[in-house]
Amino acid sequence: MLQVSELESGYGPMQVLWKPSIRVRKGTITSLLGPNGVGKSTFLMTVFGSVTPWSGKIIYEGEEVTHLPTHIKVDKGLTLVPEGKHLFGGMTVYENLMMGAYLKRAQQYREESLELVYSLFPRLKERGKQLAGSLSGGEQQMVTVARALMSKPKMIMLDEPSQGLAPLLVQHVFETIQKMKAQVGLTILLVEQNADASLAATDYVYVMHEGRIKAEGTPEDIKSSDEIREAYLGL
């Protein structure tokens, strides 16, 4: 579904990514783990295109998309739920969801997508008329995920969706991600610091350190390697 090879990027003169390569298979949940500041968010943003790639290759559904602008990628079904709450605080929850279906392709499926989103997050239906900025942290996180689903994606990249949430909500987030894979058939690339919870929910794992991929394997591989767990995941 997605194949990234030897990606390099950074900010100004500072290089953050040092040629990491990953592959995400269709219909799977792949996670990218690693401690704070190693370049996980930069990786997702570079794949999405909000950070410009310096070199390397990004292939999505068999097509090279390395330098395509973000709105074209969203139209092709590849979207990102960025780290932090990048929702439209001055708009209502419903307006936020409608913005998710902004592109013509997504607009066609608006009612269908809305039904799906409300079945995953019934809370958002009740909160429809409320300003998104006035919601609780957990609810705001739901809005950003729901908004991404409204764009009728084939693949979603999630950047720390459980960040700052209470344990019960974290569990709900991971359940929802599982549902997105099983019921909707989405392909998911998940970035997390919460290694324990994501190892339990994932099909394949990459471990990033200082902008490089240091290890990869099934969750079992990673869990059974004391070396990886101690050196990179702090478990």
């Binding site: 999405f48 909000s50 602008p69 973000t70 709105h71 969203v74 139209d75 979207t79 990102l80 739920v81 960025p82 990048h86 929702l87 439209f88 605080g89 001055g90 708009m91 913005m99 998710g100 902004y102 592109l103 997504a106 950003t144 908004r147 991404a148 764009s151």
Partner: protein, 295 residues
């Protein structure tokens, strides 16, 4: 007697304030979407005023028709300046865009001076005055006020009912969020800058109806200052906030003029300008996000 005069002046303040508000919407739109302060704002107002003058004196075209013409000229100028200068500066440090818009302002002033000269020039749009009870108002000022309200309403509908307008609103709210929804942010930047400049030129047309001494290429500076005060009053990023900021500013300017005129030995006009500066400073100190829309 004094109260009557004050009521009359306040009414005139509201009429002028609506036009001031409209004349600030472009500044707020550009700041809200691109996070760029257009220091050349007043120069674009001046160009709008000269479009009016030229259409009227050379071709005999009514200032009311000049409003859409100036808007279209502004759109054109906006796109030209966006693609030649502004586009590259959006992600640069603020100083770069400040200097760029400042230079564009000077460029416009000098070009207009080359064409029209630097003396004050006026045009005579002979319209009757009407008696509204509280005050007597030239019909031209009433038209300017109504025109401003109509333009503000159109902008409101554009923002809330059209796809392109909603896209702009989403960029104002959160640029990253807009990107992941599939909004073409680069295009929104270009359109917003062009529309912002278009609105500003159109406001220059309406403002000529309030300038009895005539216009000249260097008239823009005081409007830049007023627009900053109004934009800050209205919360900087919201064009409607700016519109209401304009109403408040018009009231304060005209109300204070009446009161300053009572003080013997002072020149009230100079004091109102001092008051604008003072307001800007005080607001920025207490409530940098604006008075009307707090966040």
């Amino acid at each position: 007697m004094l109260l009557e005069q004050l009521a009359g002046n306040l009414f005139q303040g509201l009429v002028l304030g609506a036009v001031y508000g409209m004349a600030t919407m472009g500044l707020s739109l550009i700041f809200g979407v691109l996070r760029i302060v257009n220091v050349g704002h007043g120069a674009f107002i001046m160009v709008g005023a000269f479009v009016t003058l030229w259409l009227f004196t050379a071709l005999g075209i009514s200032p009311l028709v000049a409003v859409p013409v100036a808007f279209v000229v502004g759109l054109g100028l906006g796109f030209i300046f966006y693609y030649t200068a502004i586009k590259k500066l959006i992600k640069a440090p603020e100083l770069a865009s400040l200097l760029a818009t400042f230079s564009i302002g000077i460029l416009l002033e000098e070009v207009i001076k080359l064409i029209f000269g630097s003396e004050f020039r006026g045009y005579n749009w002979a319209l009757p005055k009407i008696d509204l009870g509280v005050t007597v108002l030239p019909l031209s000022k009433l038209y300017a006020c109504i025109g401003s309200i109509i333009i503000a309403l159109i902008l409101y509908l554009w923002f809330n009912k059209t796809r392109a307008g909603t896209a702009m609103r989403s960029v104002v709210e959160d640029t990253e969020g807009a990107k992941v929804c599939g909004v073409n942010v680069d295009r929104v930047y270009a359109n917003s800058f062009a529309i912002g400049i278009g609105l500003t030129l159109a406001s220059g047309v309406l403002l000529t109806m309030f300038i009895p001494v005539g216009i000249n290429p260097y008239m823009g500076g005081s409007y830049t200052l007023k627009a900053f005060v109004i934009a800050v009053l209205g919360g900087l990023t919201s064009p409607y906030g700016a519109f209401f900021g304009g109403l408040v500013f018009g009231l304060i300017e005209n109300g204070s003029y009446t009161l300053f005129a009572l003080i013997p030995g002072v020149e009230p006009f100079a004091l109102t300008r001092f008051l604008s500066f003072l307001m800007l400073l005080v607001i920025l100190l207490i409530r940098p996000t604006g008075i009307l829309k707090g966040k």
